[in-house]
Symmetry: C2
Subunit: 163 residues, 2 copies
DNA sequence: CGGCATCCTGTATGATACTG
DNA sequence: CAGTATCATACAGGATGCCG
């Protein structure tokens, strides 16, 4: 049997739960549509109708989330030249949006391993063709497992100091 | 100025959008509450009332999501001995739940960098004390950037073969 | 093609109250 | 402490139709 044991750990400081960045992030891309639009942006989709077709959402939903993602700085709306003379608009990943890649890859791989999905495509490194994953590491490059994680209060933050 | 340029890429195969593992994953932990409950589990929380207090959600919400997360295999409900003689129940991460760590770390770091949050705590490696991140790598350990990602159709999957 | 406006349904979640 | 039940609200998202 695969090991499935409890990992004994201390409970993280309570102040970690206030102003949680995960909470904020979920507020921006925490809906199915918004997350799948981000997926599509990484897949190379740029045009409105392609988002609608490939994410399989209603145009209204695409409209709302594309606007919100632009407002949140993950996507940028930019003009481009059509084959015709019309000016068209496309959505591309900003630097901030590109930084979202680990989230997308992590969600993809977890679902592939644990959510019982038939996945028809793989994400690989173009230079060597091997699958791409996320790893959890510290600054020294050590692989960090759950048991060696530590949650520490930042010294420059006061809970309720007298100022 | 920080570079914020478009990364030219091919559009991924359309069949990647069917049965998408990101979609499945979002169906399981795609709500704010469910994701924050997972965060709390990584923070070391195990008891019902601690989830309610630390995630700051209604008991009903905690009840629903804890049950669903157990049903989805991310958490396990287990008895433990109280200081008194009563038997109590706690929720702990299963192996599948522990594998969710990269998602939580990635969401945390993206929000910290891009979502303008005051974060009072850090996540570090206990052995060296340095911050913990996610990296996107291939099997050979190469760091993979957006420009070197490739989306390839798996050969063993037929789109609509006659079988 | 690339949206926005409106209507309608389902889900997520908080508030409150009740049970063992 | 550890939930469950009920009610009410807010938001996600589909369907439809209109507009440049």
């Amino acid at each position: 049997v695969v090991q499935d044991e409890a990992v004994p750990r201390e409970v993280a400081p309570r102040q970690l739960t206030t102003g949680c960045p995960i909470d904020k992030t979920m507020g921006i891309v925490g809906s199915r549509s918004a997350m799948l639009i981000m997926r599509e942006a990484f897949y190379g989709t740029t045009r409105f109708d392609d988002f609608v077709a490939r994410v399989d959402i209603a145009p209204a939903t695409a409209s709302v989330h594309l606007r919100d993602l632009v407002a949140s700085g993950l996507l940028a709306k930019e003009p481009y030249r059509d084959s015709a003379t019309r000016t068209r608009w496309g959505y591309r990943l900003t630097r901030s949006g590109q930084d979202f890649l680990p989230v997308v890859i992590a969600l993809f791989r977890w679902g592939e391993q644990h959510a019982d999905v038939e996945v028809g495509t793989d994400i690989v490194h173009d230079e060597c063709g091997t699958p791409v994953w996320t790893t959890v590491v510290c600054e020294h490059g050590h692989d960090v497992s759950l048991g060696s994680l530590q949650f520490v209060a930042k010294v420059d933050v006061q809970l309720d100091s007298g100022k």
